[in-house]
């Protein structure tokens, strides 16, 4: 007992003693350090930078009085508003724009679902049964039986385990990406992806690498660069998820992604693939299943396919499908799914009906029309056509003096001649600036003659626009 007590006291004494042994300068340095830390802490709590004395109330009031904010939006926006064409009819094969009945080559009604009487009947029956709104998110009494039916039908059609539907096309991919990709994760993405993907990536706060449009060699370059980084920091690499996000058929260029090569790269570099098929679902592939069918690859290699119900299906909303393991997560983590009212049941009923029309002839008709239009457009020598021959969306640009005003004027001229076409619209906040273009859209309702005569008309109005003086001389 005594012994141990003694050793206690001796130890304390040693500690005390050791303070005497420390050189004096050491103490001074430590003291300075402590003071410095206190100073940092103090300056943080008062929040005034550099200056020790805090501002007086009067000085603050003066600063507040002096501060003049910018206007919320630039003044005078209302005066420079460009006129938007207004529609007064159904938007089917024909459409009445500003009072003029036009053949419609502008809206993305690829399969002509809009205006089909049976689909309208389905919508009406749905209103009579369920009303219009669902009055709640899916979790809280906003799930209607038609939602479940539709999800099942989509999953079955796409031969996937599970599908999930959103109430808005844009919100689908924009919610799906941040559900998986978090801060610190890495996303590889094509430069020309649609705006919804760009927003989804921004919302995820992940690191993003954009590769040149459809340039998979550039992608490999970026992947290799990342692999070098990973080798330097394997600990971080082990918890960093990698995703590749791209579109099947690019709305901004009409090009098709080389999916088989991506899948090859996927196994090598271990990233997951999210494929946005908003514009290729119901368009590419023998049965309209999109890119995976078009290339005949195992659909399970693509971790998630996102589609839209707004174009080929002629309704509203979007869907994502894939394995249950992946998709189910969105039912709690997909923001646009969890925190928003569910799809109005009438739109779900319309899709269910529209899917009954899916058949091989319809898709081959569409592809055929796309090819006809492509060929006809390529023959015009005053424009360039950007699109794959199989794409129903063709971007047309003037070879000389291409500008948005010029294209708008051409659209107006075409409208005067009973043809509705439109300039592809973009906001000023696109990450990579877009060259203005007319986005011509082909659908199954058009006959060969109609396509050819429309293209001819476009050629004429372009001519009329670029050399108006000649018209006058011809007349005289």
């Amino acid at each position: 007992m005594d012994g141990s007590d003694y050793s206690w006291a001796a130890k304390a004494g040693d500690v005390f003693h050791s303070y005497y042994e420390i050189p004096f300068y050491h103490l001074i340095v430590e003291l300075a350090l402590v003071l410095f830390i206190i100073k940092i802490l103090m300056s943080k709590s008062t929040g005034s930078p550099g200056d020790e004395t805090p501002l007086t109330e009067k000085e603050m009031q003066k600063l507040i009085a002096e501060w003049t904010p910018e206007p919320l939006v630039p003044a005078g926006a209302a005066d420079t508003e460009p006129p938007v064409p207004v529609i007064t009819s159904k938007v089917g094969k024909y459409v009445t724009v500003n009072g003029k009945e036009c053949l419609n080559l502008a809206t993305m009604n690829f399969l002509g679902m809009i205006g089909k009487e049976e689909i309208e009947d389905a919508a009406v029956a749905s209103v009579q049964k369920y009303g219009v709104g669902s009055c709640g998110p899916r979790g809280f009494y906003g799930t209607i039986d038609v939602h479940l039916l539709l999800e099942e039908k989509l999953a079955k059609y796409m031969e996937c385990e599970e599908a999930i539907i959103y109430s808005y096309g844009f919100a689908t991919v924009a919610s799906a990406i941040p559900a998986y990709s978090k801060r610190g994760d890495i996303i590889f993405c094509d430069k020309e992806v649609c705006y919804a993907i760009q927003k989804g990536i921004l919302a995820s706060r992940s690191t993003v690498f954009y590769y040149n449009h459809n340039d998979l060699d550039h992608l490999v370059e970026l992947l290799e660069k990342q692999a070098v980084e990973d080798r330097k920091n394997p600990k971080k690499a082990r918890v960093t998820n990698r995703f590749l996000v791209t579109e099947g058929l690019f709305v901004n260029t009409g090009q098709i992604t080389n999916l088989p090569r991506l899948i090859e790269l996927k196994q090598k570099y271990k990233f997951r693939i999210f494929l946005d098929e908003s514009y290729s679902f119901g368009v590419l592939g023998e049965c309209g299943r999109g890119l995976t069918e078009y290339y005949n690859v195992d659909r399970r290699n693509v971790d998630m396919i996102v589609g839209s119900m707004e174009f080929s299906l002629g309704s509203v909303g979007g869907f994502a499908c894939g394995s249950s393991f992946v998709i189910r997560h969105q039912r709690l983590a997909g923001q646009g799914y969890v925190f928003s009212a569910s799809l109005p049941p009438l739109h779900a009923s319309m899709v269910i009906k529209a899917m009954d029309y899916f058949d091989k002839d319809l898709f081959s008709k569409l592809i055929n029309n796309c090819k006809i239009a492509h060929e006809a457009l390529e023959a015009i020598d005053t424009i360039t056509v950007t699109a794959d021959p199989l794409s129903p969306m063709k971007h047309i640009r003037l070879i000389e003096n291409n500008s948005e005003e010029a294209l708008r004027e051409i659209c107006n001229l075409a409208r005067d001649n009973n043809l509705a076409i439109t300039v592809a619209s973009y906001t000023s906040t696109e990450i990579f600036k877009k060259e203005p273009s007319i986005r011509l859209t082909v659908n199954t309702e058009l006959t060969e003659e109609e396509i050819c005569s429309s293209v001819k008309l476009i050629e004429e109005v372009i001519h009329q626009y670029t050399s108006p003086s000649q018209d006058i001389s011809e007349d005289s």
Partner: protein, 532 residues
């Protein structure tokens, strides 16, 4: 070309009076005492913490859940437990897709009780609903719909004015729209070839209804917030947000690139402090003055039932030259003498609020959202808003439902039905709130708010409540962590004009009957009052 000229020149049909008998020049503005509302109430709100014992039991319950979760996960990793298989096709050697606490919580807590949510409805989400029965496999996997259904009293849908209906004028009009007017959808964004006549008509009507100059409608309420804030503020701007703002507002703020500061829920002192120090200090690091400051609040908070202290916020906004964005998702239609929302409720001039946002998925029984503001802001958004430029326009049947229900609310359809419903909702709300409060339940929010959260505190009790209610034919919304704070598990009742007094009385009686088992009367204030 000024816009007024444009619309009349473009085609002469706008010259006509709209279907609602308002001609386009009056814009449906409020009559006589233009815009300025009489305040209905002063700002008032109550909050009460649960008693200590409840707090302890809530923590204990959570602790047990997490512990069992870990045991399950351990058994899974050893291959004894085959539930919630977490394997993925292909993808060998990939970084696991989910590895955070969220996934753990979903797998081990949410999965056990998931049958209290996502009930499949067999019809209109009105006051009475039919729900399909479901069968659950082990660990709630393999959910199968049965072909039997049962009736419930619906106190969960956001059907404030009871416009979720499949008969009556609204649905008749909607059907007419589909059949013989503008059809079903457009497949084109507004800025291309998706602007229909009905959109202009609707925007005019809503602007007039709210007492604003102009309005813009969108296909989804969530997207209205998440996609428009970025067009208003950006880098170098400050966005001050209430801590309980809806996910869509938070996302919109994040996407905008502005600096975000958060003030404590409805705490005006804190808001003022942030405003003051922010202006004085300027931007972080560069110390340049802020370009602009935007305050973002909600009219009624959907999980708390509280309303923002609008008069005070407007005062602060003016004092500090900030802009104000009010999300009226739950308050438009449901608050105010004539359903014009939180402004009318507090007697605030709508002109004092720069941006009035709201959704059509609640009181109007439709879908979508709107932004009402001055002409410049709306014109700017028309050009720059992502929802206008990249996503499909609002569909005609939905737009027609909104038009018809707004006309009813405004009384221009001549039936007086709208006004009756607004009164009924208010009566229901006051009756229900006072009855529950009298009985000693802890409710959140103010007297007139139709969102009535009942504090339950622990998750176990929450599930017990859900189970008993469903067994007795009541369909309530129950929410717990992570949607609420850990101790904030609550049931939420959304009152509707379509509830009758008998139904509400039945509900109260039901709760009274179940009280000995559930023990939901947590209010200690009430007990003190009763004793004294």
């Amino acid at each position: 070309m000024p816009p007024e000229e444009r619309s009349s020149e473009a085609f002469d049909e706008t010259e006509e009076v709209f279907a609602n008998n308002l001609d386009s020049t009056t814009n449906g503005h409020l009559p006589v005492n233009e815009k300025v509302f009489e305040p209905e109430v002063e700002y008032d709100e109550t909050f009460e913490d649960p008693p200590f014992l409840s707090i302890m039991s809530a923590y204990l319950c959570l602790f047990l859940l997490v512990m069992f979760g870990h045991i399950r996960d351990l058994l899974r990793s050893w291959g004894f437990d085959k539930t919630m298989d977490t394997s993925e096709f292909g993808n060998k050697g990939f970084v696991p897709l989910y590895n955070d606490f969220e996934a753990f919580y979903t797998r081990n807590v949410y999965q056990r009780v998931l049958h209290y949510w996502c009930h499949p409805l067999a019809g209109v989400p009105g006051a009475n609903i039919e729900i399909w029965d479901r069968k659950f496999g082990s660990f709630n996997e393999n959910i199968r719909l049965q072909d039997t259904k049962r009736n419930y009293l619906n106190i969960g849908s956001y059907n404030y004015l009871g416009f979720a209906e499949n008969n009556g004028r609204c649905s008749e009009e909607t059907i007419k729209e589909i059949r013989s007017r503008l059809g079903t959808t457009t497949a084109s964004p507004r800025s291309e070839l998706g602007t229909l006549k009905i959109h202009e008509e609707l925007e005019n009507l809503i602007a007039g209804f709210l007492g604003k100059d102009a309005c813009l409608v969108f296909g989804m309420g969530f997207a209205t917030n998440s996609m428009n804030i970025a067009a208003l503020v950006d880098d170098g701007c400050l966005l001050i947000s209430d801590e309980l703002n809806h996910a869509s507002l938070i996302l919109g703020a994040r996407l905008s690139g502005a600096k975000i500061k958060v003030f404590r829920h409805n705490n005006m002192k804190h808001l003022e402090k942030i405003l003051k120090t922010s202006i004085v200090e300027g931007q972080p690091r560069t110390r340049r003055p802020w370009k602009k400051i935007l305050i973002v609040v909600e009219g009624i908070y959907s999980m708390e039932g509280t309303s923002c202290n609008l008069p005070k916020i407007v005062e602060l906004k003016k004092k500090y030259k900030a802009y104000l964005y009010v999300d009226e998702a739950h308050s438009v239609g449901a608050m105010g003498k004539t359903g014009r929302g939180i402004c009318e409720h507090y007697g605030v001039d709508p002109a004092d609020i720069d941006i009035l946002m709201g959704t059509f998925s609640k009181s109007f029984g439709a879908a979508g959202g709107y932004i009402a503001s001055n002409k410049d802001i709306v014109a700017h958004l028309r050009k720059e808003s992502h929802a206008q430029v990249y996503s499909s326009a609002m569909s005609p049947p939905v737009a027609r439902q909104i038009l018809a229900s707004t006309e009813a609310i405004m009384g221009v359809d001549g039936s007086g039905e709208g006004q009756r419903r607004i009164r009924q909702l208010k009566e229901n709300t006051r009756f229900f709130r006072t009855e529950l409060q009298k009985r000693g339940y802890i409710l959140y929010g103010e007297l007139d708010s139709p969102v009535v959260p009942l504090l339950i505190c622990s998750i176990a009790r929450l599930c017990a409540f859900a189970k008993t209610s469903l067994a007795n034919g009541l369909a309530p919304v129950v929410v717990g962590f992570p949607a609420t704070p850990i101790l904030g598990a609550r049931a939420r009742f959304c009152l509707s004009a379509s509830h009758t007094r008998e139904q509400l009385q039945w509900l109260i009686d039901l709760m009274e009957r179940c009280e000995p088992v559930l023990g939901l009367k947590l209010s200690s204030r009430h007990k003190q009052k009763a004793n004294s």
